[in-house]
């Protein structure tokens, strides 16, 4: 790594780019939903209404596939945007582990690894355990 680029710059850059990319996907997805007056089998009203039945419990990650993406299904694009947004802090913590390891600060490498494990528990383990 070149000496003039610090981990702080990489973290700041990652956060900014993550938010920008996710905003682009969300705006594009909502635009598609508005233009198509819906997405896939859902009408615009299904998707937007206050008591919408369309929530993340019925939308597996596999909803994002070549058919929905190529078919310009707006809901799939919004989901991609949301996932990128949620992944941004996860990437940031992963960079943190690398940063502390690079500094040979083993206590903080360990602490940051525990934070990363907490994130993995929340993202993969707990949903698999509690939601059938």
């Amino acid at each position: 790594m070149p000496r003039n680029i610090s981990f702080e710059d990489i973290i700041g850059w990652t956060l900014r780019v993550g938010v920008l990319i996710s905003a682009v996907f969300i705006i594009f997805g909502i635009g598609l939903i508005y233009v198509h007056r819906g997405a896939g089998i859902y009408t615009f009203k299904d998707l937007v209404a206050a008591n919408s039945p369309v929530n993340t419990s019925i939308l597996p990650v596999s909803y994002i596939n070549s058919r929905t993406v190529m078919g310009l299904n707006g809901l799939a694009y919004v989901l991609i945007g949301l996932i990128i947004l949620m992944a941004t802090p996860v990437v940031r913590v992963a960079i943190g582990i690398a940063q502390f390891a690079h500094e040979r600060n083993w206590l903080y490498t360990f602490i940051t690894a525990v934070v990363f494990i907490n994130l993995m528990l929340a993202i993969f383990v707990i949903p698999a355990l509690v939601v059938k």
């Binding site: 909502i30 937007v48 206050a50 929530n55 993340t56 949620m86 206590l107 707990i126 509690v130």
Partner: protein, 288 residues
């Protein structure tokens, strides 16, 4: 329930999310504090979806502004990461509690707790930042073991500020509760995070607020993954809420330096009080 055409509802949600982001950034509380009451009390959005959307928007605003603060080198990444052990654990417990509450139709609990949190903010709004820099306290063993020190250049004071923190364990304890509240209510709970660093660990105000903001994104990402699994996130609502709050908070950061006088703070505090009382009344069933 609000009876308006769906396009009008769509427009109202966008406007309310921008206003919430704007107000939240001006008082330094994040969008969720205003968003959840406005969504539930005035737009008829179920509180589970309102908190889910709020939590997602919290990630957007934290990441958006943290990138600027990290560049300024005021954020203490080491102290922030150390405290995230507690905030992420608290967030897991808080989101699971929220999922349990919604599964058992105990929404009134969320209304009451949210109202009480809003009302408690009034105290912090009135009391805060009388001192820019804390009075030094004797370092303790945690100062050394957990390397609680740092320095930054203070633009306002025109000097290099060296500082160190104390009572890491007390900071961690408060951070667990901050994470719990964040997971339970879908807010960043920045005020509690600042309290943990400013009051418990004796860190300078600027370090506390920027580091708190940096931590909010990771705390919210933890909670939102669990919210996602339990179906508390309505994707379209969450999507435009995130955009609206981000837009509102970015606008606020541009005009913030121009409007920091006390009278404006009183107006915002009055809004907080009104929303807090309304949420509690809704929770106890006096208003519907």
């Amino acid at each position: 329930m609000l009876h308006v055409p769906i396009d009008v509802f769509f427009a109202l949600v966008v406007i309310v999310s921008i206003i919430s982001g704007f107000l939240g950034a001006l008082v330094g509380l994040g969008g969720g504090t205003f968003l959840v009451p406005l969504y539930t009390l005035f737009l008829g959005i179920p509180i589970a979806y309102a908190t889910g959307a709020s939590l997602i928007s919290t990630i957007a605003t934290s990441s958006g502004s943290a990138s600027a603060y990290v560049k300024d080198r005021i954020t203490n990444v080491r102290i922030g990461m150390g405290l995230e052990i507690a905030t992420t654990t608290g967030s897991i417990v808080g989101s699971l509690t929220a999922a349990f509450v919604y599964a058992h139709h105990l929404e009134y609990i969320i209304y009451i707790v949210f109202g009480v949190v809003l009302l408690s903010q009034i105290y912090f709004q009135m009391e805060r930042s009388r001192f820019e820099l804390p009075k030094p306290i004797k370092p303790d063993w945690t100062t050394r073991v957990f390397q609680l020190h740092g320095e930054y250049y203070d633009e306002a004071l025109k000097q290099e500020v060296k500082y160190y923190g104390v009572r890491w364990w007390l900071g961690e304890t408060i951070m667990f509760f901050a994470g719990f509240i964040s997971g339970l209510l879908g807010i960043g709970s920045g005020a509690l995070k600042v309290l943990g660093m400013d009051w418990a660990m004796n860190l300078p105000m600027k370090v506390s607020t920027t580091t708190s903001n940096f931590m909010i994104g990771v705390t919210a990402a933890t909670g939102s993954a669990i919210y996602w699994a339990f179906g508390l996130i309505q994707p379209i609502l969450a999507g435009f809420t995130a955009l609206g709050v981000l837009l509102g908070s970015m606008t606020a950061s541009k005009i913030l330096p121009k409007i920091t006088n006390r009278s404006i703070r009183y107006i915002f505090t009055a809004i907080l009080a009104f929303l807090g009382v309304e949420m509690v009344l809704r929770g106890v069933g006096i208003i519907h």
